[in-house]
């Protein structure tokens, strides 16, 4: 199921592709054993799982490793070697030696653990073909799973977005609306080197590594383009270890370099004093201003001592930063520190993200009684018709009753159905009189019941590259000034000058070039 290697690709690549490329970066077309997959149990219920091909009974299940959910039981064997996005049916699992008395996972339904005898319906074993192929040696000892009559999940390839929704939280994390904007603004691109602190739960790290990824660093070829990398720092020991484990499990070794470190005091250099050469920085720390001096190009006054200063930044490029702080006081201190340390283009924003749901607003007296239907008049006309009917009936009734006691007046206007209608009826209305719950009613959108109104303030800034007198002298020598008079002025020309210039150009260079010039000028536009 691993795509065969292109003829041009080297052997070195082959080995890597087989075991190393992260499922986050290249999931392939199908799920594979010993790799991360995300089970979508329901809309927002996502469960990360490392798929395991087992050679025999596992934990009492004859089918090998089984995921038990409230939607049924899912042996890993039914989820390996299937296309990503597959809908997976629940299986009737064989508890075998497991025994009925053992404590089951809380969410599980005892009845799902059907005994082998009941699993004799003719339904084909789910995905047995691919399973046999991929589980390989496993098939011998593992019982083939038998699909249950109901219950299913979907299996998705891991992406930073899905991971962020499903990851085991150890801290506050940065969610997609924030990190998507941050990575865009700090120019995290293939080949960039990003510094991130603290790593926390690794939500941002996963998004950052996807953004900068342009191949794994290779030990054989040290030439060519610079490889993107994330340098991440975390001082909380357990979080550091957990995250380090994840980096390995997710195949991100060599792409995320995690350091156990207090960055306020010990800065960002790696491997005993080497500069990461960062192009972009993201600080999600309680006190970013404590870390900022360490992110200078030259030794800032606030740092004592006279050892040689090694900057963790890329000395050849402008460096982009974003700090992420929930409180305005933190922003004030951060911005002040940025100004003192020579950062420019300081900009602060806050991201407000909203999710919207679509619903069919079904209102009307004519609509059948159904869940979610509001059987009240849909407009004034319907209300009037209805009222007039009632009046009619009332008069009719009064006429018939003719002075009799009014004991049954309350029957005149039975309340429009709803509360007293049976559930059976509610589920069978589709199709009646051309009614379909999915096309009737007005399509509207509405927000979620609860919205996040504040995540954090995002402070952005840029630190231009150093530019010395010598640099300037060299540039001046390379691009001397003085021959400008021979060339047109660009920028704001008045119309007449522009026309004249174009005429001259047409004569000089012939039509083809001029047409192209015109096209380019259109881009430039009139000032």
């Amino acid at each position: 199921m691993q795509p065969p290697i292109a003829p041009q690709a080297t052997m070195a690549l082959t080995t890597r592709q087989e075991q190393k490329i992260s499922p986050f970066l290249e999931p392939g077309l199908q799920t594979k054993a010993s790799s991360l997959a995300i089970l979508q149990l329901s809309r927002d219920n996502l469960l990360p799982v490392y798929l395991q091909a087992t050679a025999g009974e596992h934990d009492g299940y004859a089918e090998g490793v089984v995921v038990n959910t409230r939607y049924g039981s899912f042996p890993h064997s039914t989820m390996i070697g299937v296309p990503w996005g597959s809908q997976i049916r629940a299986s009737k699992v064989d508890t075998g030696s497991r025994g009925r008395k053992r404590k089951r996972p809380t969410d599980d339904d005892p009845d799902a653990a059907a005994t082998p005898q009941t699993a004799n319906e003719t339904e084909a074993p789910a995905e047995s073909g691919t399973q046999a192929e991929d589980a390989g040696n496993a098939t011998a000892g593992v019982k083939q799973a038998v699909a249950a009559s109901s219950g299913f999940i979907h299996i998705l390839p891991p992406t930073p977005e899905i991971w962020t929704m499903s990851l085991p939280h150890r801290t506050q994390v940065v969610y997609t609306p924030d990190y998507s904007y941050i990575l865009h603004r700090i120019r995290a691109r293939p080949g960039s080197v990003v510094i991130e602190a603290g790593a926390g739960s690794g939500s941002f790290s996963h998004a950052a590594v996807r953004a900068v990824y342009n191949g794994y660093p290779s030990s054989t070829t040290t030439t060519g383009k610079r490889k993107g990398k994330v340098f991440s720092y975390e001082y909380h020991e357990q979080r550091f270890h957990k995250m380090q484990k994840e980096i390995v499990e997710h195949g991100l070794e060599g792409l995320v370099h995690l350091t156990h470190r207090d960055v306020y005091n010990d800065g960002f250099l790696v491997d005993g004093g080497r500069s990461p050469g960062a192009d972009a920085i993201f600080l999600d720390l309680p006190a970013p201003w404590e870390a900022l001096p360490k992110l200078s190009r030259r030794k800032p006054e606030s740092i004592p001592g006279d050892e040689e200063w090694v900057s963790p930044l890329n000395f050849k490029k402008s460096v982009y930063i974003c700090t992420f702080s929930p409180c305005i006081e933190q922003v004030t201190r951060t911005v002040s520190a940025l100004r003192r340390l020579g950062w420019v283009d300081i900009d602060m924003v806050e991201i407000a993200n909203r999710k919207l749901h679509t619903v069919r607003d079904r209102v009307g007296l004519h609509l059948p009684v159904d869940r979610g239907v509001n059987n009240t008049p849909k407009d004034v006309d319907e209300a009037i018709t209805r009222l007039a009917e009632i009046e009619d009936r009332f008069r009719e009734h009064a006429r018939l009753a003719k002075g009799a006691a009014d004991e049954d007046v309350t029957d005149l206007a039975p309340p429009p159905g709803g509360q007293n209608s049976s559930k059976k009826a509610m589920n069978d209305v589709n199709g009646k009189e051309g009614y379909h719950s999915w096309v009737d009613g007005r399509l509207v959108t509405r927000g979620e019941p609860e919205i996040k109104t504040h995540t954090s303030y995002l402070v952005f800034a840029i630190l231009p590259r150093e530019w010395t007198e010598e640099d300037e002298a060299a540039a001046l020598a390379r691009y001397p000034v003085g021959s400008e008079q021979l060339h047109p002025v660009v920028g704001s020309l008045d119309k007449a000058a522009r026309k004249k210039e174009r005429r001259e150009l047409l004569q000089k260079q012939g039509n083809r070039k001029a047409r192209r010039k015109e096209r380019a000028e259109k881009l430039l536009g009139e000032p």
Partner: protein
């Protein structure tokens, strides 16, 4: 991105008022910034981005000069405010403006700035201030104070009053001086900053200052969301199909076959933003900006160059070509440079000459644009030196990574002449007898045929890693034809300036539609094969097969910008309005065949005594929501 401003690069010059001027920096030209002055382009070429330059007055007989304004100078005011104790009241006593007054000397200018918005409401210099009316309204003492450059608040207040009277603001509005801030500036601040034209800068400029409708009002937040949700990223080392070495006598049979297993990291795009969306994707995939080698820092950075020249042949070729382009005194407005043989588009096989049927496109890390006109409109890519209409092109990463085809070629290739007409063939002798121009034409046609074939066939092979749209077309119609082309689990991200098209799209995947579909109660669906259902043609009730997408969702994001100044931190008072912008996201599902029912057995465990079983009807198989969610909701 390059670390320094390269000759002929497109840049944005940020002017003091916050506006940008976008232009190409042609060497040996003069760049004019209108009233801010002009300067030789060569003074910024080879310099770093993001420095702030100040145009210096030109002394007779001297070369024009730019001064680099230091960050401490740029932040002087804010830092001074911070240092002063009463920083919360900008015009209050002890604020740094006191010092300002002492300098009513030559060439200085005062401006009154509205503290909230930062707008300059009045500007004047000292000489002008002391005009006749001023002399009438001021006492002799005040005038003296002003002339002396008296550093008292009295002097400052006088200036403020005068400035306001100049604009007649004081008569129209009841104003409080505290609303304004007095600034001393040079006559015009002739400062500017050079920003690179990358996607964030370009998109902002297009949105805020040019024509937002061209990019469908797509804000930075949306570009970020679409890119992430569609999982757009570097799609792997480039892989090329082998040159079949087809002779001119060989036709169709010699075209290299698509090798499906090689096709990886490919994104499908529908772009009605003139290429802004494609540029954003290309930037995320590392194929927008020409490769930056370490030797980029040629401008005398000494030792660091050594040992970095070893690059792949492709990059090497590219680099030397760029050098060439620089050397030959380029014409200002020619982003794509001059003609080089089209084969230069194919940097990898630098063999003697690629045959007509050699496929120049990488099989990985590609963007496939489907367009509705016969040519795609990707004109904004010109800002990055890529011109899709140019037959001959300098090397550019997009050449091997951007594929385009029309909807007709995708869906009805048999109706497309260039796809359908078999390639021209001719034996070597005939060919030799032709005029060079005719021969050239012959080869061009064969090459074009091979490319179109390859693009159409590989696109129709499907298994795309994701779909991205920002289109004026109905998203339902787009998905109808593109969903079958997506790999399982592949994300879909569709941007729309307005919510309505996306709401209609999301409605195609509503719970009730999916439930009806999967429960087997839709007559048309029964007995259809999985393949047929993937290519569901659409009906009124089911415009799309609702089981082909998972986790459909619509969202919007907005960045609220703040002013952060000592004692005056608050959100901006106004921002750009117009279209909000929304993003629809989902993942491609591979539905199981046959009728599938949700399990829906839910128990409230260990709650209070007499725990209720919620969704009992679900257990009876009545509710068949695709996700169990619908069944969990207790029915009141």
């Amino acid at each position: 991105m390059h670390s320094t401003i390269r000759p002929n690069a497109w840049v944005a010059l940020k002017l003091p008022a916050g506006m940008h001027r976008v232009l190409q920096v042609a060497p040996n030209t003069t760049i004019s910034l209108g009233k801010y002055g002009s300067f030789p382009a060569n003074l910024i070429i080879g310099r770093p981005y993001h420095l702030t330059f100040e145009i210096q007055d030109r002394q007779p007989g001297e070369a024009p000069r730019l001064r680099v304004v230091s960050p401490s100078e740029l932040h002087a005011e804010a830092l001074a405010d911070e240092a002063s104790p009463g920083c919360a009241t900008p015009t209050g006593p002890g604020s740094s403006e006191a010092a300002v007054i002492s300098a009513v000397t030559t060439g200085e200018e005062f401006s009154l700035v509205e503290t909230e918005s930062g707008n300059v409401v009045a500007r004047s210099n000292a000489e002008q201030l002391l005009d006749e009316t001023a002399r009438q309204t001021l006492t002799q003492d005040e005038i003296e104070a002003l002339k002396r450059g008296d550093g008292t608040n009295a002097g400052k207040d006088v200036i403020e009053k005068l400035l306001l009277s100049h604009t007649a603001l004081d008569q129209k509005t009841s104003f409080s001086l505290a609303k304004y801030k007095l600034l001393k500036t040079k006559k015009y601040i002739r400062r500017f900053q050079v920003l690179p034209i990358d996607v964030p800068n370009f998109a902002n400029w297009q949105l805020e200052e040019r024509d937002a409708s061209k990019v469908l009002d797509m804000r930075a937040e949306m570009i970020g969301l679409v890119g992430c949700w569609a999982n757009v990223h570097y799609g792997g080392e480039e892989v090329f199909l082998e040159d079949p070495q087809a002779t001119t006598e060989e036709g169709e049979e010699k075209l290299p076959a698509i090798q499906e297993e090689q096709l990886r990291g490919r994104w499908l795009v529908v772009d009605d933003t003139c290429g802004a969306l494609v540029a954003a994707m290309a930037e995320r995939m590392g194929v927008l900006h020409p490769e930056e080698s370490d030797s980029d820092s040629e401008e005398g950075q000494g030792g660091e160059e050594e040992g970095t020249k070893a690059m792949t042949t492709g990059e090497d070729a590219e680099d030397s070509d760029t050098e060439m382009a620089e050397a030959q005194d380029p014409t200002p407005s020619e982003p794509t440079g001059d003609a080089t043989p089209a084969d230069a588009a194919n940097p990898k096989p630098r063999k003697p000459r690629a045959s007509d049927f050699a496929i120049p496109f990488s099989q990985t890390n590609t963007i496939t644009v489907i367009h509705s006109a016969s040519q795609p409109n990707l004109s904004f890519l010109n800002y990055w030196g890529f011109d899709i209409t140019s037959p001959c092109h300098l090397p550019h990463p997009l050449l091997n990574h951007l594929l385009n085809l029309t909807w007709l070629q995708l869906l009805k290739p048999e109706l497309d002449t260039s796809y359908f007409t078999p390639p021209l063939v001719a034996d070597a002798e005939t060919l030799a007898g032709w005029k060079p121009s005719r021969r050239g034409n012959f080869h061009r046609k064969r090459r074009r045929w091979a490319r179109i074939r390859h693009i159409v066939d590989s696109t129709r092979a499907g298994n795309f890693s994701g779909l991205v749209c920002a289109s004026t077309m109905d998203p339902i119609s787009i998905l109808k034809h593109t969903l079958p082309l997506l790999a399982g689990g592949a994300p879909v991200a569709i941007y729309s300036p307005t919510i309505e098209p996306l709401a209609q799209l999301a409605d195609c995947f509503s719970v009730s539609r999916r439930t009806a579909w999967t429960s087997g109660s839709v007559a048309e669906v029964i007995n259809k094969s999985a393949e047929e259902l993937e290519r569901w043609p659409g009906t009124d009730d089911f415009p799309l097969n609702p089981s082909l997408l998972l986790g459909t969702s619509i969202q919007t994001s907005r960045a609220r910008r703040w002013q952060v100044l000592p004692g005056r931190t608050h959100p901006l008072m106004t921002e750009r309005g117009g279209a909000e912008g929304y993003v629809f996201t989902a993942w491609r599902a591979k539905p199981a065949e046959g009728r599938v029912e949700a399990k829906g057995k839910f128990k409230r465990r260990k709650t209070e005594a007499g725990a209720v079983t919620v969704g009992a009807e679900a257990a009876a198989g009545v509710v068949k929501a695709e996700t169990g969610d619908a069944a969990v909701e207790p029915e009141a």
